[in-house]
Subunit: 327 residues, 2 copies
C-alpha cells in the first residue's frame, strides 16, 4: 500500500472537523479561522526513548503522543483546536498497525474536541510520531506562560503525582507488581501508558488568573525549575503537601526508591503546576474542582530567590536549587 | 549536552520573531495572533528516504526540510508565518552537527520571513525532521485549495521542471556529470539539494484569482492528478509547452531516460501548478513575472474528463489518465 492510499484510509476514519476548520486533511495545507490568539506546540515520541512497543499497544502509543502534545496546550490554558501528526512508520508496522496507531490518536482527538487537520507518513527505521497541536484563546493575554510567577504567589498543583513513574517501574520490573493489589497496579500502568491532558483544569486556572503555568512532563523538580527560571523567581515546595497517587509509596519501597523522590523526579504525570496571587486561590480551587480533573492543591509558594527547594515535613531538603539537572 | 542545553544554544541563534508572534520558542507553546485565516501543513524528511547525508550537507538538509514545508504554504497562496521543527538526532550527530543543521533551517526562515517559534529534539536511530509551518491570509477565501479547478480553466506552471530529478541522477551516478558542463551540473544538483519555495509566486497567483493550486513535490504527473481528482475534473497538458531546465535533456539522455518522462515523473521541483479562468491569465502572467520567481507559462487546460493526459508535440500520449500511480 502506498502513502496516498494509507492516508486516504486514515482520512476515512477522521472525526468531523471543528468549527474553526474550513479545509481539513487532504489538501496542501489545512485552512482554519482562528479566534483571537493561538498557542502552538510540537512534541515528538520515539520508540525505545519515549515508549516501548513491547509494553504499550499501538493504540496507547497514538493516544499518548497526542496527549503529551495537548498537555502543553493545557499548560497555556488554551482550548484544544487542531493537531497535525507526522508518523514515521518502521518496516515491521503494517497497514493494520498504522490504523490501530491512528485510532488511538483519533480517539483522544474526539474526546478532547481536537480536529486532526493534517499529517505526513514516512518510512523510518523505528516508530516515531511528531505531533503539532494548535490551541485557541480569545486574546493572547488569556494564555498563561511560564514567566509570570511573582514572589508571594501560591504554587498549586492539579491531581496526584508519581503514578506515571511508578507505572513505568511496574512495566520495566514486573516482579514489583506484588507490592500493590492488581487494580492499583493496573491504574499506575495506565497513568504511564495513557495519560490525560488537563485541558479543562488548565482553562480554569487561566480564567482564575494564574500568572504562570507548566505541565509536569519532565517531573515536578525539573518543571518547577523551568517555571522559576522563566519567571526569574524561586520556588519553595512543601513535600508534605504533595498528593502521591495510590500505590506509589508501595512500588517505590519495593524498588528501593524514596517515594517523594520518585514522585518529584519522575516525569510524565502531565499534571499542571501553576502560580497565582493568594487572593485568587479560593476561586481557582473551586473552578478546578468543578472540572472533575482531579482537584487542585496548594503545594508551596513563589519566592524572591532562585531555583527550586523541596522540603520534607521534617525540614530536610529533598531537592536543592538546580534540581532541574535531574529532569 | 542535554536537550535543554542544546535547545538553549539553538534559541540563541534564532532570527527575531515576526510581528504576529507574542511568545516564541521556549515556553510550553508559542503564542501568536493570526490574521483572518491560517494555512497549516506538516512535512517530514528522513535520512535515506528523502535525503542522504553523504550527498547533502547538514545545512542543506535543514534548508530543504523547511523549504519542502513552506512549498505547501506557497501552494495555498499563503504568506509564510511560523515554523515548528521536531528533529530526531541520531547517535553520530554531535552538537556542532545539530547547530549546522539548524543554521540551514534558520537561514531559509530569515530569507522567507518565517519565525522559528518552537521545536523538539529527540534521540532517534537516523536523522529526521518534521516541520510544521503556519501561513497567513486575510480571509480563508484568499487561500487556494486543490479543489477549485473548472473545465475550461487555463493550467499554468511556474519556472522550469526536471532539474531536481536530473540533479538526483547526477548525485546518484556521478559518471553522468560528463553530459553537461560543470556550471549546469552544479545548478541541477543545487535544485535537488536546495529547492526554493515559490512563496511570492503563490501569493501572486492567489491574488490573480487562481481557482486551484498545488506544488510539484511528487512530480507533475502525480500532482496534476491530485489537483484533478480534488476538483473532480480532468487535466490535459501539452508536453511541448513544458519548460525543461537547462541540462535536463542531456542528463536524461546520458542516463537512457526520456527527458519529458523524467521531468513529468520526477518530484521535488517545488514549482506551482495552478488553474485559473482564461480571462485571468494575462494578469497572472504579469504579476508572477514581477515576483522574479521564474515566470509563469500556460501548459494545458482543465477538462470535463478525469485524470491526467500529457500529450507530446507529435500527438503521442506521454502519460495516460491515472498517471498518479507513478507519483
Amino acid at each position: 500500500m502506498g502513502e496516498f492510499e494509507l492516508l486516504a484510509r486514515l482520512r476515512e476514519r477522521l472525526p468531523p472537523p471543528g468549527p474553526r476548520v474550513r479545509v481539513g486533511s487532504g489538501d496542501d495545507a489545512a485552512v482554519t479561522v482562528p479566534g483571537g490568539a493561538t498557542a502552538t506546540s510540537v512534541d515528538a515520541l520515539v520508540d525505545g526513548v519515549h515508549f516501548r512497543r513491547d509494553t504499550a499497544t499501538l493504540t496507547q502509543i497514538g493516544r499518548k503522543a497526542l496527549a503529551a502534545a495537548l498537555s502543553d496546550l493545557a499548560a497555556m490554558g488554551a482550548e484544544a483546536g487542531e493537531a497535525y501528526v507526522a508518523v514515521g512508520v518502521p518496516p515491521d508496522l503494517d497497514e493494520e498497525g498504522c490504523l490501530e496507531l491512528f485510532d488511538g490518536v483519533a480517539a483522544l482527538a474526539t474526546a478532547t474536541g481536537t480536529t486532526l487537520a493534517g499529517g505526513d507518513v514516512s518510512r523510518t527505521p523505528v516508530l516515531s510520531l511528531a505531533v503539532t497541536v494548535v490551541g485557541h484563546a480569545a486574546t493572547p493575554e488569556r494564555l498563561v506562560t511560564r514567566a509570570g510567577a511573582r514572589p508571594g504567589d501560591a504554587l498549586v498543583l492539579t491531581g496526584e503525582i508519581g503514578a506515571a513513574a511508578a507505572g513505568l517501574l511496574l512495566l520495566e520490573r514486573p516482579e514489583l507488581a506484588a507490592s500493590v493489589d492488581a487494580a492499583t497496579g493496573a491504574q499506575l500502568r495506565r497513568r504511564q501508558l495513557d495519560p490525560t491532558p488537563r485541558l479543562a483544569a488548565g482553562q480554569a486556572l487561566a480564567a482564575a488568573g494564574a500568572g504562570a503555568m507548566i505541565d509536569l512532563s519532565d517531573g515536578l523538580g525539573g518543571d518547577a525549575a523551568h517555571l522559576a527560571r522563566a519567571s526569574r523567581a524561586g520556588v519553595r515546595i512543601d513535600a508534605g503537601a504533595l498528593s502521591l497517587a495510590a500505590g506509589v509509596a508501595e512500588v517505590a519501597a519495593a524498588a528501593g526508591r524514596d517515594p517523594l523522590e520518585l514522585a518529584a523526579a519522575g516525569g510524565e504525570d502531565y499534571e499542571l503546576l501553576a502560580a497565582l496571587a493568594p487572593e485568587r486561590l479560593p476561586g481557582a480551587l473551586r473552578t478546578v474542582a468543578a472540572t472533575g480533573e482531579g482537584g487542585l492543591k496548594q503545594v508551596g509558594e513563589v519566592t524572591a530567590g532562585e531555583g527550586v527547594e523541596i522540603r520534607r515535613p521534617g525540614g530536610e531538603i529533598l531537592a536543592p536549587a538546580g534540581f532541574d539537572q535531574l529532569g
